[in-house]
Each structure stands twice: as C-alpha cells, then as structure tokens.
C-alpha cells in the first residue's frame, strides 16, 4: 500500500467535489428546463388544422424569403427546390444560393427550371463574397438563384438575405425537408405578437428511416442505424426539453441554421451571420439578444414545436464526430466572443441564465464529464476515493439521464404524438437507457475534440457527406 501525503487526499476530494457539483448543477438545470418545457407545451396555443391556420393567417401572414444555401448538392437540389416551391404559404420566395459549388448544382438548376440571367437591385448591407450571377425564370416566379464565389454557409446566407425583399427570412439547409405547412405554422408568433417577435425556431427531426418522396416525408419512421436512432432521442431532448424550456424562460440562445425564421431588419441591424465562427446560428441569436437589450427594446425570440423540418442525421462515427466537434467549437467561439455578456446585469437573464447554461452545459460539461471518467477510476484504484460512492454517483447520473430522455418522450407523446407506433416509444426508451453506455462517453470525447480544435483556433466546417434520403 502506498502512503500518500495528506494533500493528495485533499486534492482528490476537491476534484471529486467539483465533478459532483457541476453534475448536480446540470441536473438542476435540466429539471428546471423540463418544468418550463412542460408549462410551455401546456400553455401553447391549441394545434389547429392547416386549413384553419390558412383561413386565419393567410391574409395577415407576412411575405417570407426562404434562404437555402447549397454547396455540391447536384444529386438532391432539384427535389429539394421542388419541395420548397410546393410549400403552402400565401406569399413566399425561394432564394437558392449556389455557394461556389464544384459540382453541377448550378447547371442542374439552370437546366431544370430554364433559368436565365437576370438583374435585381439589392441591398449590400451584409458582408458576402462577390456574386457571379442571378438567375430566374418567368415560369417559376417564386424562385431566385444566386451564384456566388464560395464563402461558406454564413456568407451564403448573408448573400441571400441581401437579395431578399421580404420582411421575414427563413434560413434552411438546402436539403432540409420542410413539412408543407411548416411556414404557416412558424409564422404564428410574428402574427400574434408582431411588434416584439424577431426570431422563431421550429423543430428539427431525423428523417433517416422515414419514407421520403418528392422532397417530403410521406411516412415517419425510426432509423435502423443505431447512431441515427440515438440521435432521434437526442433531438427530442434538445428541442422538446432544452429549447422549449429556454424559450419559455426567455433565454433561448440558439435557433438552428437548418430551420429558423428571422425578421430581416433585425438580422441587418446586427450585421447578419458572422464569418469567423462555425456556430454562426447560435452567434446570430446571441447578437440579437445583445442588440435588443442594449437598445432596451422589448423583443421575443421563441421556439415553437409544431412547425417541423426533417434532416438527415449522420450514420457514421467519423461524420457524427466531426459534426459534434464543430457544434462544440461553435458554442465555445460564441461564449468567448460575447463573454462580456456573462453575468453582466445589463443583459439580464441572458447574461445569467442563458450564458450560465452555455457555461455549464457546453463549456464545462464535456471537460468535467471526461475528467470524471479519466480521473475517478485511478483515484479509486489508489484508494483515494470510495468505490461505493463512485458507483452510486455514476448510477444516479445515468438514471437521471434516462429520466430526462423519458420525460422528453412523454412531452412528445402527450403533446405532439409524431412517433407512428407504440413500439417506437418502447424502442426509444431502450435507446435512452443504452445511450448511457458507450455513446454518451463517445459524444463527450468528440466534444473534447471540439475543445481542442477551439484551443488550437481551427477554422472551417470539415466535410459532411450525405447519404441522401430514402426515396420511393
């Protein structure tokens, strides 16, 4: 038996305490989010049928420009744009931005829609790479295609927003599958609270395993791939618990770049999407909070669960790992860039709750959990901490994780009921249990990689290879 000096016991105790403390704060925060999410779902306006929404809102719904950046999407671009053009909304325009694709994305669009070069007088309020041309067709008056020098997603979205003339812009990924009534549903807060509402996010669900035809999800289903299946539970947790809860608290810090609607004027006021971050969607929302709070203007940034878009989830470890590392990096970049808002009374609950959540979940979360995995077993082996306590604490952390996932499933089932079969609920419950053994640790490892990349100031998105939706 080794005789350790007394300070080593004190250090081991301190490390364990920090890990437990951060874990407990996370648990507490999750519980609070859960309660707020439950209240928000209970209080939300009753679900109306699309026809009722149309009757009520069609004359009032503000025009929307759909901003769809595309990079090397030649395989899917036509189906995606067809689906966008077929959305049910009174007044909208589809702005596709070919962000310097190296494949035939632009040519496919030109050939299919018989596009011709056009001119359009546009604002140059937001920074973006030079445009190479604009294309439109008389037969498809709702479509405008922008061809520009490659500059990344943020740059492409800025170019699209510059060209848009609608008061609202909806940013999506070119391969996002919007449900036909997604726009008429997502615009609701802009009609119900037109003065204050500046941004609204909708739900993103995993399309893997769904039957997709003509750019639409015809029949929802669960993926067969285990990684994609775990992501279904993760997305439910992220949207139905975290974002809904934070939205209810008035501290929503992110609206996904895959589906969010913004008041164009507000986006221009904050300079649009930033180029120097991979978390440009989160950063835009934080900029909006900052701007509105500094201007002392009443505002609302909300998430509502009913408008749904579907996205393809990565099914390989490599791609998923890159995505998670990138998300982690994005959160850290935003936290660093706007650190002066943290605990700053000038920014009210955003500084305390919003940034507190980023600190606990995004900044410290992976560090502490990985530190726990890495340090606690050696400390136990060296006899510096008790095995009984270690086991009990790990059990509590894992069962709480399962509890939170199950609570998200309850919210989904009671309020939305989008999972088609009862056995899907059972399957997702099992996934919620088993994700704690292996996937959770892997995810933290990826996030730690994101931390490392952040520390080394790595730039860029990396590659995201898409498999393509299963189409009939």
């Amino acid at each position: 038996m080794i005789d350790f000096p007394p300070w080593s016991f004190a250090a081991a105790e301190l490390i364990t305490l920090v890990i437990i403390l951060v874990g407990l704060i996370q648990v507490l925060f999750n519980l609070v989010q859960l309660v707020f999410a439950g209240v928000a779902l209970h209080e939300r306006p009753p679900l109306s049928s699309t026809s009722v929404l149309w009757q009520r809102y069609s004359e009032l719904a503000p025009p929307i420009a759909l901003i769809a950046p595309a990079y090397n999407e030649e395989l899917t671009i036509i189906a995606s744009v067809d689906a966008l053009l077929a959305l049910h909304y009174p007044d909208f325009e589809v702005v596709v931005i070919n962000d310097g694709s190296k494949d035939a994305t632009l040519q496919r669009l030109i050939d299919h829609y018989r596009l011709v070069p056009v001119q359009r007088y546009h604002d140059q309020a937001l920074e973006s790479k030079p445009l190479r041309g604009l294309y439109a067709a008389d037969d498809v008056p709702r479509l405008l295609v922008i061809d520009k020098v490659n500059g990344g997603k943020a740059d492409a979205m800025n170019a699209g927003i510059n060209l848009a003339r609608s008061p609202l812009v909806c940013v999506i990924d070119a391969d996002t599958l919007l449900e036909p009534d997604a726009l008429i549903r997502v615009v609701r807060p802009f009609v119900d609270d037109p003065v204050r509402t500046i941004a609204v996010g909708g739900t993103i669900r995993i399309a893997n395993g769904c039957h997709v035809d003509g750019g639409r999800v015809i029949r929802a289903g669960l993926p067969r791939n285990l990684l994609a299946l775990v992501q279904v539970v993760e997305y439910l947790r992220a949207f139905l618990m975290a974002r809904l809860g934070l939205s209810r608290m008035g501290t929503l810090m992110i609206i996904s770049g895959a589906f969010g609607v913004f008041r164009r004027g507000a986006v221009l006021d904050v300079g649009g999407f930033s180029h120097n971050t991979v978390g440009e969607d989160m950063e835009l929302v934080v900029k909006l909070h900052r701007h509105m709070r500094e201007q002392k203007r009443p505002y609302r940034i909300a998430y509502i669960p009913e408008p749904v878009s579907w996205t393809e989830a990565p099914e390989s470890l490599k791609i998923l790992g890159n995505q998670r590392a990138r998300w982690q990096r994005g959160a850290l970049e935003t936290f660093r860039k706007h650190f002066d808002m943290f605990l700053n009374p000038k920014y009210g609950r955003i500084g305390f709750v919003g940034f507190g959540q980023i600190l606990i979940v995004d900044v410290l979360g992976p560090l502490v959990e990985v530190a726990g995995y890495a340090l606690v077993p050696p400390l136990w082996l060296l006899g510096l901490i008790s095995f009984d306590y270690l086991l009990a604490f790990v059990a509590l952390v894992f069962t709480f994780g399962v509890f939170v996932s199950v609570a998200s499933l309850v919210l989904e089932e009671v309020q939305l009921r989008r999972l088609p079969r009862a056995r899907d609920l059972a399957l997702l419950t099992l996934v919620a249990v088993f994700e704690n053994f292996g996937y959770r640790q892997l995810n933290n490892f990826w996030r730690l990689r994101g931390w490392w990349q952040f520390a080394r100031k790595k730039q860029g998105w990396g590659t995201m290879t898409r498999k393509g939706f299963q189409r009939s």
């Binding site: 359009r120 007088y121 509590l396 509890f403 199950v406």
Partner: protein, 346 residues
Amino acid sequence: MSFLQLLWTASLLLAGIAVAVMLVLIVARLLIVRRARQRRAERRRLVPILISSARADEAALLGVHRDVIAEVTLELIDMVRGEERAAFLSKADALGVPKQLMRRLKWGSRRTRVLAAQGLSQFDQPEARRALYRALEDRSREVRLAAALALGASSQPPEAGELIKKLGLGTAEASLTAVSLFRQIAETRPDEIRALVLDDACSTSLRLVALEALATSGDFSLVTVITELALAAEDSSEALPRYLHALGKLGHPAARPAVLRGLGSHSMPARAAAAGAAGRILLKESADRLTELLDDPEWWVRFRSAESLILLGEPGIARLQEVTRSGAERARAAASTVLAERGLAG
C-alpha cells in the same frame, strides 16, 4: 438514511418512475390507436351516408360517435359551396352537430373549445351566436379570439367596442388578427371602424389597426382624415410610415400633402413609405424629389423611389434613364438595375 443510501434510493426512484411512465404511455398509445381505428371505421360508414341523399339521421342509427359526426360534417361543409354546403349544413343540424359544438365550447378542454368555436362559425344561427358571445368571456385568450373570429364571420358581427373591451385589443392583445376582425366588421358596418380611426380617445395602436383594416377597403372618405393624421404626426413617430402606407394602399391623389411631407422626412421608414405611396397615387410633382432620393443613404428609400418613378410612367422612366447617364454612383446603380430588372433598360 446515509448519503450513500440516499444516492441509490434516488437512482432507483428515477429509474422506477421512468419505466412506469413509459409503460403507461405505451398502453395509452395502444388504446389511442385502437380508438382511432374505430373512429376511422365509423368515418368510412358515415361519409357515404352524408354524401348520398339518404336521410341524415340514419347516421345516428349506425352508432357513430357524436364527435366523429361533428368532425366529418364540418370537413364536408368546409369543402363545398352553394347548395351542397346548405345541404350539408341542414344534415349537420339534423344530426345535432351545432348543439354538440356548443356543449364542447362550454365544457371541453382549451383545444376542444377553440375547435368548437371554429366549427360553430359555420352555423349562422342565433343559438350558436349566443354561445359564441358567451365564449368571448372565456378564460383562455385563444378561445376568446376564436369566438370573436367566428362571430366576425357571421351575418351579425359583434360591435367593435365590445371586442376591444373583451379581447383587450390595442392594449393587452397585439395580434394582427385584430386586423382581420375589424375587416370582417367593416364589411357590414364600415362606419364603426372609421369611428375608431377618428376617435382621439383610442390608443394609437388601436387606431392604426383600424386604419390597416380599412386601407384595403377603397373607402376614399378616409383619405382626408389619414392625411391630416399624417401631417399632424411627429416626424420620428412609428405611426407616420403606417399612415403613409395606408395612403399608398388607398391610392387617392388627395393624399398629396402628406406624401410630399413624408418624402422630406428624416425618418427612413417614413421616406420609404412616402416614396412607395408617391408612385401609387401617381404624384407627378414628386418626380424631382424621387429622383433626388435615388441617392438616399438607405437602400429601401432608393428602391421605392426607383419603383415609383417607373409607376409615374414616361416622365419617371426618362428621369431614371437620365440618372443612369449622369447621376451619382449610388443613384446610378439604383436606376440602372431597377430599369434592367423591369426590362426597361435602354
């Protein structure tokens, strides 16, 4: 209980709750699926009867649930117009659908009450209207709003004053839906909404909502009033651009003094709105000012000015062409691109 025991107990409790809840959910889902299957079968039996010329009350003999009858009849009523709609309404009446909806409006959950109010809008009957009036006092804002919209769609829309009081329009209720409500009322009683615009005692936001509701009505008698309001409004006020928008929508030349004032405003939204209105009312004397505004620092003002110059016809287009040759850089870009966009580039 030691701390260790506490940790284990908490873990077991959380796990137990999670499992129990999921079991309940799964069983509940199985029951829901079964009920939905039954309802679908009932719909399949019901639809042919309602569509055929058979007596409506035969549906009741089939043992179809009242909620299904209400749901299907409302869907059919919504799908057709004219005589067919009248026939479906009469069948729905014979099957007791309005009474069922009234019951649901009184006793249902919030969602049910909203749907019942929407459904009752199809039945322009005194009893249905009375139920909807009662629902204007509902504790839920959504139900009150749905009831108001349903009443607005009836042959006897409620008084604007009553709606303002009960829904808190212009104060607690900021929804644009108020515009729809006022439009519905204005279809039969435009004077009531016009009176709101003229009433100094009303809040500015309420007057603007009323104004917006009337702007598309083509009621030119409002032009003088709105013009006076625009001339009296502070230059930086949020109301000024909305007055100018409304004048643009009405498109009457009597708006001239307000539009000319707006073109010289220091407020960007006001200048842009005035520039847009100038074209719509074909205010030829604004052409010089619009040409100057092609070099405005604000993009929207330049764009609206260029658009309006085109609406002014030959003199406006000639000015734009002149600017493309000798204007300042910003003005030249606006003029040449907008001309090209409209296929008028020389």
